[in-house]
Symmetry: C2
Subunit: 226 residues, 2 copies
Amino acid sequence: MKKAIVLLSGGMDSAVTTAIAINKGFRIAALHLNYGQRTQERELQSFEKLCDYYNINDKLVVDISYLAEIGGSSLTDSKINVLDAKLDNTEIPNTYVPFRNANILAIATSWAEVIKAQAIFIGANQVDSSGYPDTRKDFFDAAQRMIDLGTKPDTNIKIETPIIELSKKEIIEYGSKLKVPFEITWSCYRNNDIACGTCDSCALRLKGFDEAGIFDPIKYETRPKY
Amino acid sequence: MKKAIVLLSGGMDSAVTTAIAINKGFRIAALHLNYGQRTQERELQSFEKLCDYYNINDKLVVDISYLAEIGGSSLTDSKINVLDAKLDNTEIPNTYVPFRNANILAIATSWAEVIKAQAIFIGANQVDSSGYPDTRKDFFDAAQRMIDLGTKPDTNIKIETPIIELSKKEIIEYGSKLKVPFEITWSCYRNNDIACGTCDSCALRLKGFDEAGIFDPIKYETRPKY
């Protein structure tokens, strides 16, 4: 059975991506990163619940809290505030964690090379996203080339980004069709108990559910219309 | 003054690379990685001595011991033996740590983006090396593209590999000219006290010094002719 690593943050997009990888017939090895982010504890909890739900036993939880030490992001530096969402903003918001996805992909590739996984699934999205530079298709194309060149000749690992060109609405519809348990996922950047409903990540999620005409089953402090 | 991050393992190549970066007028921020390798303690000691020697105060030591957890290399897995050097071997030796340099470059880029460094210097070498796939020029070209695409538009970070096309002999001659303190560097893969003289890394180093006609000032258990 072919094997894939899925980057499983515990968020909605990574949960849908897991469901897609399983649906494609892959046996899943799940990778989760603690990088000193505000909601680290809550994300890890969702990761564990999703692994239980999908019977994933091959798990790796990696500490990269050096990203918090390096700083430069409101997600990892408590002195920088997570701002309320401005979805029409063209600037990169301060929740951007410098080059985070490259760090994550490098770890995933090291692991994939050792366990002989053929694919790395990542739930990156360039449509309804916050405009982070490391979530775009051309970034992953460059990463693919780096993987092809930087691993052993007999290693063959393909980056899979199945939802990169979908809107949030489409991701939710797709996930809903695959019976993704949205109630155990976590997207909020701010809180560990009840989602705030107003950060970028909550806003994109609520807007997507709204457009899909599906009720988001998690609890929010407030559910604005976006 | 322009700023550069140097990947400073404490080995000879990274020490020469540091000297080159200083010589080019950069203010140095030094990055060192502990990845659970056998000689972690000794390498860190050399890193600190080199930082003292070059008056580098901007230091970051990052723990990526997840690479040891992932395993797949004799450098990080005590159950796999570090073999004696076979310099004419065309196979990748078991000291290869899967995709290590990509992990290191990702960390360096995250840090560079936050401290606004314009360059990342890495002492990779594709000539007298062990044939690792992640030390070749085309790998760094791909990494450069990933950095250009995956960081903020106003970020401009250049990977510098000044010794990639030099032989070990030439690296030693260059370092000697720049008065690199070879006596405080560490290259051995096996030992933390006296270098073994027979692992791949010792063999390449000894051969280089021999060819340069310079005496390697560190102590060895044995000094074979290669």
